[in-house]
Symmetry: C2
Subunit: 312 residues, 2 copies
Amino acid sequence: MSERPISSITRGGLRAACRAAAAALALAAAAQAAAPAAPQALTARQVLDASTASDWRPIDPQYTLYLDLPGGRVIIEMAPLFAPNHVANVTALAREAYFDGLAFMRSQDNYVVQWGDGEGKKPVRKAQRTLAAEFERPLRGLSITRLADPDSYAPVVGFVDGFPVAADPQTGRAWLVHCYGMLGAGRDNDVDSGGGTELYVVIGQAPRHLDRNVTLLGRVVRGMEMLSVLPRGHGDLGFYTAGETGLAVRSLRLAADLPAGERTALEELRTDTPTFAAYVEARRNRHEEWFKVPAGHIDVCNIPVPVRAVQR
Amino acid sequence: MSERPISSITRGGLRAACRAAAAALALAAAAQAAAPAAPQALTARQVLDASTASDWRPIDPQYTLYLDLPGGRVIIEMAPLFAPNHVANVTALAREAYFDGLAFMRSQDNYVVQWGDGEGKKPVRKAQRTLAAEFERPLRGLSITRLADPDSYAPVVGFVDGFPVAADPQTGRAWLVHCYGMLGAGRDNDVDSGGGTELYVVIGQAPRHLDRNVTLLGRVVRGMEMLSVLPRGHGDLGFYTAGETGLAVRSLRLAADLPAGERTALEELRTDTPTFAAYVEARRNRHEEWFKVPAGHIDVCNIPVPVRAVQR
């Protein structure tokens, strides 16, 4: 995702970044020369550098959306395990070019950006305009990599295939979590009034009160920096007003529908591996030289799952 | 702050917003006509609408900074209870016009924006270039409005005079929390290498791992939407690279140093009142028609303390 694994609030950042990199290299060299460093002493960067090919999985073009904007391409991975009908419907909308030429209608600071047809007038052909909500699903059948730290909002939090997930073993239900970069289907007051003709992405502090109130169906894996800087709307809830023009959507396409040469081959760190566990631990307690007090805790929305170009 | 009290992910947002407003008005009218509505049934908007003048306190111009940018004014409230030396030093820097003509050097997505003198070469006159860190302070003497919900990072979280705070009764220490919009003093690897000549503001998911690792000294109360949209830097950690020009800082001034007519008179909701408690409860469990599942929890960083123009 967008936050770098090594994060610091540096004075004269480049100098400090170089020192940090040098320190990391020195530490890695020392580890190789002598006994292996204890896993808990690694930084997130070191964990990733030590990962092997099997720690990564390709992102499936069948479940990847390309949101092409004037400034470049935003890449979204969809979550068919959690919102199969919404994923299928947004795929159908993409195939009939529904979003092409529409625009962003909303940018609310510390909350969401949203695009689609604000008037709800653009015809839908083979896709559906509305769908039954998919706010949650059975916990059964899911393999959740659980976080050790408690969560304020849910009994269990963790990851499934790279997606942040919450669950309640008592009710036997699980749901996607509204972390930064998550993609949802806007709806009206009726629970079943969404469907994917309006889509939003979280651009601020995780609005966890939306969990189980809206259907989440994916997450942005590339290009968040194009969405998060959209000028905020001056209307209620960050909607653009008559005098404001929202950024145009050139197209929204399924990656699998493009020729292979026009795709962006990405892979993401598997979240069911010891490497991911080490990555989480490295973010729970930072070992970069800059840090003085380890947090000893981590929020599910402070663990961006790494994504990179496929390594050949 | 920037998120509106009534937040929803609406399809055709204006229609829904109008319906929600009508519903709120109808509910308020019903409450006035019959028995008062139970406090837990109120929305945040209704709580604020029912507040009285004594629920609000003016923001002190002696502890208010105006960060004037080409696009307008960002207003920051400083926290002398937590970082008295940094507050005094940034005030001194403002008085010698230290920041005028400097620029933003960093914009890291989902993390921070930062401004100052990246090279550390601009002369400092009466102010100090570096200060001893003020990461935390004694819990004694603080009156914290505690949140009922547990926090993943600290034994106690709550508010003091509008600022999000964490504390550990076992160690007797308290500290400001890295929520969206908080202002901090960048530093180098040395703990005492900060001081306020480089300042940052949080623009993403609360980076709680920074708590007690950097000196926080204030929070943005107006104008976050000018900081959060700064184009992200392409260098490491979001620093701008040679080809990128960071937004210029016109000036950073103490409000009290301006003639009264050039100030922006603001007041904020007192956080030690029953009204604030009702506001928190209204955000823990949303009663707007749009919401279907109440969260039953709230994170300390999901409670933006309301700020408004002084009501005459």
